[in-house]
C-alpha cells in the first residue's frame, strides 16, 4: 500500500468514528476471551482465577502428560487422514455435479449438502447408533481404532470441500481442455495438466477447511470416540470436569497455534498458486 493510500484510509477512519468504535468492539468481542486464555496459560496458580505470576510450568507439565499428548497425536492423525479422504470425495463429488447430467440430480445435490445443514449433535447420535447397530469392533489396535472417528469426520467435512472445489471448477476455461485434447492429451493428461493446476487453490482451501473442522470437532467426536481414541478437544473437556487449571489453557493455546499455523501456511500456498494461475 502506498503512503498516499494509507493517508486516505486513515482520514476516512477519523471522519467516521462509528466505524472505529464498531471495529474495535468487534475485535474486543472476538479476541478478548482468546487473549485471556493465552495469558492465563502462563499463570502460576492452581485455581487460575487471579493472576499470581508468570510461569512455563504448565507447558512443561503438559509435555509430560502422556494422556494429553496421546490425544493430541490422535487429533492430528485423524485430521490429516480426514483431509485426504475429504479431498478425494470432495473432488469426485464436485466433478460429478459440474460435468454430468443424470436423473434426480437436484435430489442428489440436496442429499450431499445434508451434513452441512443437519445439527452436529444429530449426526453424532446417528453415528453412535449406527456403529452400535452394525457392531463395530471396539478392541482394534491403534491407528485402525481411529477409523470410526475418521469416517464420521470425513462424512461431514467432504461436502464443504466439494462446495469449494465446485466453485473453482466453474471458472475453468473449457477451451483449455479441448486445446490439450487437440494436442494429443488423453483423459489422465487433462486431469493432471489442466484440472489439477487449475484446482490447486481450491484443494488448499478445501483441505484446510477439512483439517480445521476435523481438528477442533468436539460433538461428533464425543459420540464416536472410545476410551482408547480420545482427541484433544474431548480430552480438554474431560479435564475441565475436574477443575480449570492453567494446563487446560496451555493445551488450548497449542491447539490455537496449530490452527493458526496451518491456516497461515495454506493462505501463503494458495496465494502462490493463484498468482501463477491468474491469466489475462
Amino acid at each position: 500500500m502506498s503512503i498516499g493510500k494509507l493517508i486516505t484510509v486513515v482520514k476516512f477512519r477519523l471522519r467516521n468514528p462509528w466505524l472505529n468504535i464498531s471495529l474495535l468492539a468487534t475485535l474486543l468481542f472476538f479476541y478478548t476471551p482468546i487473549v485471556v486464555l493465552i495469558v492465563f496459560s502462563f499463570n502460576d496458580s492452581r485455581r487460575n482465577i487471579v493472576w499470581k505470576g508468570f510461569t512455563f510450568k504448565y507447558y512443561k507439565k503438559l509435555l509430560s502428560n502422556e494422556m494429553l499428548l496421546e490425544a493430541f497425536v490422535n487429533s492430528l492423525t485423524i485430521a490429516l487422514i480426514t483431509t485426504i479422504l475429504s479431498l478425494l470425495l470432495g473432488v469426485l463429488t464436485a466433478v460429478l455435479l459440474w460435468r454430468f447430467k443424470f436423473p434426480l440430480k437436484p435430489l442428489y445435490q440436496g442429499i450431499i449438502m445434508v451434513p452441512v445443514i443437519v445439527p452436529e449433535i444429530c449426526i453424532g447420535i446417528a453415528f453412535l447408533i449406527f456403529f452400535n447397530w452394525i457392531g463395530w469392533p471396539s478392541d482394534l489396535i491403534w491407528p485402525v481404532s481411529l477409523a470410526k472417528i475418521i469416517f464420521a469426520h470425513s462424512l461431514f467435512c467432504f461436502p464443504f470441500v466439494a462446495i469449494v472445489i465446485r466453485a473453482r471448477l466453474i471458472g475453468l476455461n473449457g477451451e483449455c481442455e479441448e486445446a490439450a485434447r487437440d494436442l494429443g492429451a488423453k483423459g489422465w493428461h487433462i486431469f493432471r495438466d489442466i484440472w489439477v493446476p487449475h484446482l490447486k487453490p481450491s484443494f488448499i482451501a478445501g483441505g484446510l477447511l477439512a483439517f480445521t473442522l476435523s481438528l477442533d470437532d468436539f460433538v461428533i467426536t464425543f459420540f464416536t470416540s472410545g476410551p482408547e481414541t480420545i482427541t484433544l478437544p474431548v480430552k480438554i473437556y474431560s479435564m475441565i470436569r475436574f477443575s480449570v487449571t492453567p494446563e487446560i489453557n496451555a493445551a488450548s493455546t497449542i491447539l490455537i497455534i496449530v490452527t493458526i499455523f496451518s491456516v497461515g501456511t495454506a493462505i501463503l500456498l494458495q496465494k502462490e498458486s493463484l498468482k501463477k494461475a491468474s491469466a489475462k
Partner: protein
C-alpha cells in the same frame, strides 16, 4: 491434379433436432489458406470442430489425407487448432505451453527445446521462453497459440476467429503476419471468420456459409465479382440488387427488363439465361457512376442508366457514398460509392436534385431467382 488433402462428404451435425451443419461437401487442397466465412450462428465454428474431432458428425464423412477420420478421436487426428480464446494454459510458461504437445508424444526435453526455439523464431517471439501467459499481450498470446499448433507439424491448422479478440490496428498487422507464416511453413490453414474483409484479403479460397449450408466456394475475387446468389452478394461487400426478367438473349449479352426501376438494361457478365427467366441484377456501388442529368452522354460504356433523386451523401474519407432514391418506385435506394479524388464531387450534386446513375454493360452480374 493431386488428391485433395481434406474432403468433407455430406457432412451434417444436428443439435436438438436442428441441423447446424447440413450436407456440407468441401475439398481443401494441400498448402491452401482456406476460409470459412459466414455470419454468426451459421455453423462455421461447428464445422471446424467437426474437422478437429471435438464434435461428432450426425452423418457424412471427414477424410484427411485419404483416411476417414470419423472414428479417430481428436487427440489422434493430424490436425491442430488455434482456439478463439487462444486457450493458453495459464499455469505453464510460454515454452511449456508450446512444447506441451511434443511432451505428450514423449519427445526428449532437449529436442523439444530446440523445436520450440525454432518455432518461436517463426512467430517472432524469440527470447520470451520463460514468460508466463499473464505477462503477455493479446497479440503475443495469439502467436503462442499458433506456435503451439504449428510445432506439431500437423497436416492442417484450424483457426477459429483468430483475430476477433484483437484491436483494430493489431488485427491489421496479424492479418499479413498470418498469411506470411502460412506461406513460409506451407501447412494448410483452415480459418473461420465472420469478417468478409479478413476473408477477402487473406484467403486463397473461401467457402461462404449460411444457415448450415455452403452457399458458394470460390476465390475471393470471383466471390466478389460473380456471387451465385443474393446472400453471397450482400454478405460480401455491399450490393444493389434489382429484380427483373430476361427479355432478349444475344451471343454475349443479355437484355433484362428491371421491373424494380422500370428500365431495360444490358449485361455481358454472364449469359446462361433464357428469355422470361426471372433474374436479379447485382451491381456493386463502385461500379455505378453519377452523372449530371442534363449532360447527354454518347459514351457506350454508360448505356445502362436510371434517374433518381439524391437522398444523402456520406463522407468516409477516401470515398463518399451516395444514396439515390428511384422516383415513384418502391425499391431500396441505390448506393453508389465514388473516390473523393475530384474536389467538386460533393459540390456538383445537391441533395434533392435529380441525377443520372450509369453503369457499364459488364457491371451487373445476373443471378437466377428461384
Amino acid at each position: 491434379m493431386n488428391a485433395p488433402l481434406i474432403s468433407l462428404q455430406g457432412l451434417s451435425k444436428e443439435f436438438h433436432g436442428k441441423n447446424v451443419v447440413e450436407l456440407v461437401d468441401l475439398t481443401v487442397k494441400a498448402g491452401e489458406f482456406y476460409g470459412i466465412l459466414g455470419p454468426s450462428g451459421c455453423g462455421k465454428t461447428t464445422l471446424l470442430r467437426l474437422i478437429a474431432g471435438l464434435e461428432q458428425p450426425s452423418s457424412g464423412q471427414i477424410i484427411i489425407d485419404g483416411l476417414s477420420m470419423n472414428s479417430v478421436p481428436a487427440n489422434r487426428r493430424p490436425v491442430n487448432t488455434v482456439f478463439q480464446s487462444y486457450a493458453i494454459f495459464p499455469h505453464m510458461s510460454l515454452e511449456e505451453n508450446i512444447g506441451y504437445g511434443l511432451k505428450l508424444k514423449g519427445i526428449a526435453p532437449e529436442k523439444i527445446k530446440e523445436r520450440v526455439g525454432a518455432i518461436l523464431d517463426i512467430v517472432d517471439l524469440s527470447g520470451l521462453e520463460r514468460r508466463w501467459p499473464n505477462e503477455l499481450s493479446g497479440g503475443q498470446l495469439q502467436r503462442v497459440a499458433l506456435a503451439r499448433a504449428l510445432i506439431m507439424q500437423p497436416k492442417v491448422v484450424l483457426l477459429d476467429e483468430p483475430l476477433a479478440a484483437l484491436d483494430a490496428k493489431l488485427r491489421e498487422i496479424m492479418k499479413y503476419e498470418l498469411v506470411k507464416i502460412q506461406k513460409d511453413v506451407g501447412i494448410t490453414f483452415i480459418m473461420v471468420t465472420h469478417d468478409q474483409q479478413e476473408a477477402l484479403s487473406m484467403m486463397d479460397k473461401i467457402a461462404v456459409m449460411n444457415e448450415g449450408k455452403i452457399q458458394q466456394v470460390d476465390q475471393p475475387k470471383a466471390l466478389y465479382e460473380w456471387p451465385k446468389n443474393s446472400f453471397v452478394a450482400n454478405f460480401i461487400g455491399s450490393a444493389n440488387c434489382l429484380m427483373g426478367t430476361v427479355t432478349k438473349v444475344e451471343k454475349d449479352r443479355t437484355y433484362v427488363m428491371l421491373t424494380d426501376i422500370n428500365q431495360e438494361i444490358i449485361s455481358t457478365a454472364n449469359n446462361n439465361f433464357r428469355v422470361k427467366d426471372s433474374v436479379q441484377a447485382i451491381i456493386r456501388p463502385e461500379k455505378m457512376k453519377l452523372q449530371d442529368i442534363n449532360i447527354s452522354d454518347d459514351n457506350k460504356d454508360n448505356v445502362n442508366y436510371v434517374v433518381g433523386s439524391l437522398l444523402e451523401i456520406i463522407f468516409h474519407g477516401g470515398v463518399s457514398t451516395f444514396r439515390i432514391a428511384i422516383t415513384d418506385k418502391n425499391v431500396e435506394p441505390l448506393v453508389i460509392s465514388q473516390l473523393n479524388d475530384v474536389q467538386q464531387t460533393k459540390a456538383k450534386y445537391k441533395i434533392g436534385s435529380n441525377v443520372k446513375v450509369c453503369w457499364r454493360v459488364d457491371a451487373a452480374t445476373l443471378i437466377p431467382v428461384p
